[in-house]
C-alpha cells in the first residue's frame, strides 16, 4: 500500500512537471500573441500560421546548414522579416478597424499562408532533428529522467517570459505600445513615430511566434495547419490570464498545462473511485478533452476579465 502510494506521488510529481513543461511550451507560442493581441489589441488569428512558418524556416535552415543553432539563428530574422512585411502590407491597415474586420482579414491570411507553405514545402510533414548535444536526458529526482531538450524549452520559455515582462511593464517601448493601442494618433502628436514602433513590435511578435515554432519543431510535427490547433490554445491561455497581462498569460499557460496533463492522467483514476469502471472510463474520455475549456469557462465565470485583469483596460 505504502509503495503504491509513493509510486502514485512520484507519478503525480512527474505529471505536474510535465504539465508545467507543456504550459511553458504553450506560453512560448502565446508570448508573441500577448504582444500583438494582448497589448496592441489586434485579433490576430494568423498568429498560428506565423508559428508554423517559423517551424518551416527552422526546418529549412537547419537542413541547409546542418546545424540547429545556425538554422535557428537564420530562422529568427527570416520570421522577423516576414512579420515586418506582413505589417507593412496588411496589419498596418487593421489597427483601427474593429475586431471583426481583423478576424476576417486574418482568417484570409491563415488560408493564404497555409496554402503557400504547402506550395513551397509540400503537404508532407517535415523533420527537424533534436540538436546532437541536447539529445540525452538528465536525472531529476528518484529514478525520474527528463529529456534534456525539454529542459532547454523550459529555459527558453522562462527567459522569454522574463524578457517580455520587463519589456511591457518597465520600458518606454512597453508604455508606448499600450498608449498606442488605445490612442495611436495622440502618441504621434506627442512626437513618437508610433507606426514604426508598431511595425517593429509586430515583427518582434512574429519573431517570437517563429522562435516558438523553431524550438518545438524537434518535438512536434512540422506540417501545414500545425498552427491552427495551437492557435485556439494560445487564445485560451491569454484570455484566462487576462488580456494584456504577460504575467497572467504565463500563469495561465502553466495552469492550462498542469490541468490538462494532470487531469488527463489522474481524472480517470479519481473517477474510478466514484463510478463503476466502465462508466468512469466513459465519462473520463468525454471529459478529458473538455478540461481546458471547462477551466476557461470556470475562470471567466468567477473572474469575467481573466485571472489578472489589466488595470485600466476598458475592453
Amino acid at each position: 500500500m505504502r509503495g503504491l502510494l509513493s509510486e502514485m506521488l512520484n507519478l503525480f510529481l512527474l505529471q505536474a512537471l510535465n504539465g508545467v513543461q507543456f504550459g511553458i511550451m504553450l506560453f512560448l507560442v502565446a508570448a508573441g500573441l500577448t504582444l500583438i493581441f494582448g497589448i496592441m489589441d489586434l485579433i490576430n488569428l494568423s498568429h498560428g500560421v506565423l508559428y508554423m512558418v517559423g517551424a518551416y524556416f527552422a526546418a529549412t535552415f537547419v537542413a541547409l546548414t546542418g546545424s540547429f543553432v545556425l538554422g535557428l539563428l537564420l530562422a529568427l530574422p527570416a520570421a522577423l522579416l516576414l512579420g515586418i512585411v506582413l505589417e507593412l502590407l496588411v496589419f498596418r491597415r487593421l489597427y483601427e478597424r474593429d475586431h471583426l474586420d481583423q478576424v476576417l482579414a486574418t482568417f484570409g491570411l491563415i488560408l493564404i499562408l497555409n496554402e503557400s507553405v504547402k506550395v513551397i514545402w509540400g503537404a508532407a510533414p517535415l523533420s527537424v532533428p533534436v540538436p546532437e548535444a541536447l539529445t540525452g536526458s538528465v536525472q531529476l529526482f528518484g529514478n525520474v529522467r527528463y529529456p534534456l531538450y525539454r529542459l532547454v524549452i523550459i529555459a527558453a520559455g522562462l527567459a522569454t517570459a522574463a524578457g517580455l515582462y520587463v519589456l511591457v511593464n518597465f520600458t518606454r517601448v512597453g508604455m508606448l505600445l499600450r498608449a498606442g493601442a488605445s490612442n495611436a494618433p495622440m502618441v504621434s502628436a506627442l512626437g513618437v513615430d508610433i507606426r514604426r514602433l508598431f511595425t517593429v513590435v509586430f515583427g518582434l511578435g512574429a519573431m517570437l511566434a517563429g522562435l516558438a515554432g523553431a524550438l518545438v519543431a524537434p518535438i512536434l510535427s512540422v506540417e501545414p495547419g500545425m498552427g491552427d490547433s495551437v492557435l485556439i490554445l494560445t487564445f485560451v491561455v491569454i484570455v484566462i490570464g487576462g488580456v494584456g497581462s504577460v504575467r497572467g498569460a504565463f500563469i495561465a499557460a502553466i495552469l492550462v498545462g498542469v490541468v490538462d496533463t494532470v487531469g488527463r492522467t489522474f481524472g480517470p483514476i479519481l473517477l474510478r473511485t466514484m463510478l463503476d469502471p466502465s462508466a468512469a472510463s466513459q465519462t473520463g474520455r468525454a471529459l478529458a478533452p473538455m478540461l481546458i475549456y471547462i477551466l476557461m469557462a470556470a475562470v471567466l465565470l468567477f473572474r469575467p476579465m481573466g485571472l489578472f485583469p489589466v488595470r485600466g483596460a476598458v475592453r
Binding site: 489589441d41 485579433i43 488569428l45 496588411v90 491597415r93 487593421l94 478597424r97 474593429d98 475586431h99 471583426l100 474586420d101 478576424v103 476576417l104 482579414a105 482568417f107 484570409g108 491570411l109 491563415i110 488560408l111 493564404i112 499562408l113 497555409n114 496554402e115 503557400s116 504547402k118 506550395v119 488605445s182 490612442n183 491552427d228 485556439i232 487564445f235 485560451v236 484570455v239 488580456v243 466513459q282 474520455r285 468525454a286 478533452p289 473538455m290 475549456y293 471547462i294 476557461m296 469557462a297 471567466l300 465565470l301 469575467p304 476579465m305 481573466g306 476598458v314 475592453r315
Partner: protein, 334 residues
C-alpha cells in the same frame, strides 16, 4: 477608442438605419431569384444548382441567426456552430429512436437549443468583448467533444440518416425541389421574423445596448435579459438550420460544430456586411460560391480564397454589401 463592449466600428452601426430599407430590397431581390431558380434549372437542365442553392440557404439561415446577436447585439459568439450541431443531432438521435417527423424534430431541436442557449448564455453574458468570444467558444468546444465521445451516434465517424425526415408521415423532402422550397420558406420566415424583431421594442433595446450599455441602464433598462433572449432566439434559429443541414446531407457529424465552423459563420456575416439582414445571406452565398468556383480551378484554391477575403477587408468597409453599395453610390455621384 475601445468601446466598453466589443470593438465594433460605430460607423457600421450608424449605417444600419440607412441600409435597412436597401437591405429589404436586396433581400427581396435575392429571394425572388432563389424562388425562380428551379425554372432556370429546367432550362439549363442542371439540377445540381438546386443542391448548391439549398446548401447556401441553410448556411444563410445560420449566418442570419448569428447576425441577430452579432450585428444587432454586438455579441460575438464564437460557438454558434454548436447550435447548428444541436439541430443536426436532434434529427439523428430522434431518428435512432424511430422519430422521423420533421416537425417533431424541429420542435425538439429548438427546445434543446433554446435550453442550451439559456444556460450557456446566462453564464457567458457575465463577460464582454473578447472574453465573451472565448467563453462561447468554450461551450461550443465542450459540446463538440461530447458528441465526438458519443459512440452510440457514431462519434467522430458521424451518423448516416437512412432517409430524410418525413412531413406528416410523407417522405416529401426526398424530392430535392420540395427540400429546396422548404429551406427557402424557412429562410424567408426567419428573415421576416428577424426583421420584425429588429424593428420592435425589443429590437430597439437590443440595438441600444449595442451602442452603449451603460446609457441603457441609465434610462432604466437592464440589458442582460434582452441580450439573453436574443441569444436564445438566435440559437433556436441556428438549430433549425442544423435540422435542415442534416436533412440535406443525410448525414450528421460533430464536424458541424467545430470551432472552425463557428469561425466560418462569423466570416460569412462579416463578409456580407453585419448588422444588415441581407448581409449574412449574401455573405453565405459569396462564401460557398467562392468555395465552389475557386476549387474548380486549382488545388491551391484556398490561396485565392484567402486573398479575396483579405482584399474585401482592406478595400471595403461593411463587407460585400458595403462594397456593392459603395459601387452603386459611386455611380450615383459620378
Amino acid at each position: 477608442m475601445n468601446s466598453s463592449t466589443t470593438n465594433i466600428a460605430p460607423a457600421h452601426l450608424a449605417e444600419v438605419r440607412v441600409s435597412f430599407r436597401t437591405a429589404g430590397f436586396a433581400a427581396l431581390a435575392m429571394f425572388a431569384i432563389l424562388a425562380a431558380l428551379p425554372l432556370l434549372t429546367l432550362v439549363t437542365g442542371d439540377a445540381f444548382v438546386l443542391v448548391v442553392a439549398t446548401r447556401i440557404m441553410i448556411f444563410a439561415l445560420a449566418a442570419l441567426s448569428l447576425d441577430l446577436i452579432l450585428g444587432f447585439g454586438a455579441l460575438v459568439s464564437f460557438g454558434h456552430a454548436a447550435f447548428v450541431g444541436i439541430g443536426a443531432y436532434a434529427v439523428a438521435i430522434l431518428n435512432a429512436y424511430g422519430v422521423n417527423d420533421l416537425l417533431v424534430q424541429s420542435l425538439v431541436a429548438v427546445a434543446v437549443a433554446a435550453l442550451f442557449a439559456l444556460v450557456t448564455g446566462a453564464i457567458s453574458l457575465r463577460t464582454r468583448g473578447v472574453y465573451f468570444i472565448m467563453i462561447t467558444l468554450a461551450f461550443g468546444q465542450m459540446l463538440y467533444f461530447l458528441m465526438i465521445s458519443l459512440s452510440a451516434f457514431g462519434g467522430d465517424d458521424g451518423y448516416t440518416l437512412p432517409a430524410r425526415s418525413t412531413v406528416l408521415g410523407m417522405p416529401l423532402l426526398e424530392n430535392n425541389l420540395v427540400m429546396f422550397y422548404t429551406v427557402l420558406a424557412v429562410l424567408v420566415g426567419a428573415f421576416l421574423l428577424a426583421r420584425m424583431l429588429i424593428a420592435s421594442r425589443f429590437g430597439r433595446v437590443l440595438r441600444g445596448t449595442r451602442d452603449n450599455a451603460v446609457r441603457m441602464q441609465a434610462i432604466g433598462f437592464s440589458p442582460s435579459p434582452y441580450q439573453l433572449t436574443a441569444y436564445v432566439i438566435a440559437g433556436s434559429i441556428a438549430a433549425l438550420a442544423g435540422v435542415l443541414l442534416a436533412n440535406q446531407v443525410e448525414f450528421v457529424s460533430p464536424a458541424y460544430m467545430s470551432w472552425q465552423r463557428s469561425g466560418e459563420l462569423i466570416v460569412m456575416v462579416v463578409l456580407g456586411g453585419m448588422g444588415t439582414l441581407a448581409g449574412p445571406i449574401a455573405g453565405a452565398a459569396a462564401f460557398i460560391l467562392l468555395e465552389e468556383w475557386l476549387s474548380s480551378f486549382s488545388q491551391h484554391w484556398k490561396l485565392g480564397f484567402g486573398l479575396i477575403l483579405l482584399l474585401v477587408v482592406l478595400f471595403s468597409k461593411g463587407g460585400v454589401g458595403g462594397l456593392v453599395k459603395r459601387l452603386l453610390g459611386g455611380a450615383h455621384h459620378g
